[in-house]
Symmetry: D2
Subunit: 146 residues, 4 copies
């Protein structure tokens, strides 16, 4: 078992318990960029028989976390939104690509596209990250906004 | 095994595969309102060791689905956003309350509050639902926006 | 004085009283696309001495209205968001470009970029339009969501 | 001519050039709270003959600026969203009330309700402010996110 500090970001992201639980794979991660994949499994379906919005969002959120932590500064989510376009059929494989559209010292903004197996648009996300500084961890659990 | 049509909305929401997977319980659902609960399990943790934003969102999204489907008209998610305030400690139980703030014939808007075990604010969501009419299912999978 | 019906969309957009009040010019408008320009005048400044967020948003919103009404179907705003990146200096000329990222029968989604005179990123917007059908005007003023 | 430093927040907000241009009046401002009013004038109408979304947003944004600057720390807008519910008739007077829903050292979140003369819901906004520290002004114009 390697030391967590010595793991690459890609390895850390793939060991993430929730991402493993959902079967998310990190295809690529670079400065301000990430590409991830998730198969739509039967556990991800909602009571209407289509994929749960929370599963689609979780993939997008993970791509956002990957891209926003790619600069070596810890970044936490401040705000995200998602617009749903279409319902991928059962058995689909979803791809999420996150791209940085703005970076400043304390905040950064990303767009995340979710597409289906044939490249059709499933959802579009936007996320704003707060970039922490080491001495600003807040003792009462307010994260990153210290 | 009962017929799906004859199940109450609460029963349908609790049989939802993704909600069961996450351990979400529906405490209450009424016209334009829903209250749900989810324990933060070890599988929901991210690579930073705190609860994954996708798990918090999934609880909020399910509360939104419950409230928006409470009028007997099928409603699907068009847009949601989430603002994160604090990180609940491991072992927490999260509560989501969704309230309708506007209802029209084809769209409806909800606010969803996520709180921790001591009532502290964890996140705030907003969601816009599109309310379907039976003859408007779109053959190419565009959901609810036919 | 021409008949309103016979005016092009570009002419209608430029006769829009609020857009004229703000000095907005429509440079280009096509199917799912619009490009507009607005000079930052002294009346648009806020109490901090920088351009008011409402003026930047108004330019973005007008670009969104142009692009979403470009298909010949009346479209009204359902939801917009804006993320602010930088403050353009006094005397700047701002440009807004709106691009359609999804179109369905009843809704459409747009991204609008606001840039300064040197092309620097000032703000990014997203907007969801509801596309009306003629027989769905709501008598009590609920717009487009009938 | 008084010194700007010695003006109350309410006076500063009312001297704001864009707010004066739009006829916005500050009815009340307190810690984390503001209530403003704006008459819908003929210049605020769009090409469809109804109030321009940018004018409604500008009122909401100004209420947000008032509430977020009420603690004595300079706060700038990071992100806002607006959901439109109904179209106020010509000659209406709109009221905006902003309430703080979360405050941390560096960010704060507000909800702003826009209502018409009879109290009907016109739009709902949410805004996230970044709270500056004096030594963090960014030399290249990135505002508040230094």
């Amino acid at each position: 078992m390697g030391d967590v500090e010595s793991l690459s970001l890609k390895e850390q992201l793939e060991r993430d318990p929730f991402a493993r639980y959902l079967g998310i794979r990190v295809l690529d991660v670079g400065e301000g960029f990430a590409k991830l994949r998730m198969p739509v499994r039967s556990e991800m379906v909602n009571f209407m028989g289509t994929i749960h919005g929370g599963a689609i969002f979780s993939l997008a959120d993970h791509a956002f976390a990957a891209a926003s932590n790619s600069h070596g500064t810890t970044a936490v989510a401040l705000h995200l939104d998602i617009t749903y376009f279409s319902v991928p059929p059962a058995g689909s494989i979803l791809t999420a690509e996150a791209h940085e559209i703005h970076l400043s010292r304390r905040t950064a903004t990303y767009r995340i596209e979710i597409t289906g197996a044939e490249g059709q648009s499933v959802a579009a996300c936007q996320g704003i990250a707060y970039r922490k500084q080491k001495d600003q961890v807040d003792s009462d659990g307010n994260f990153g906004k210290a």
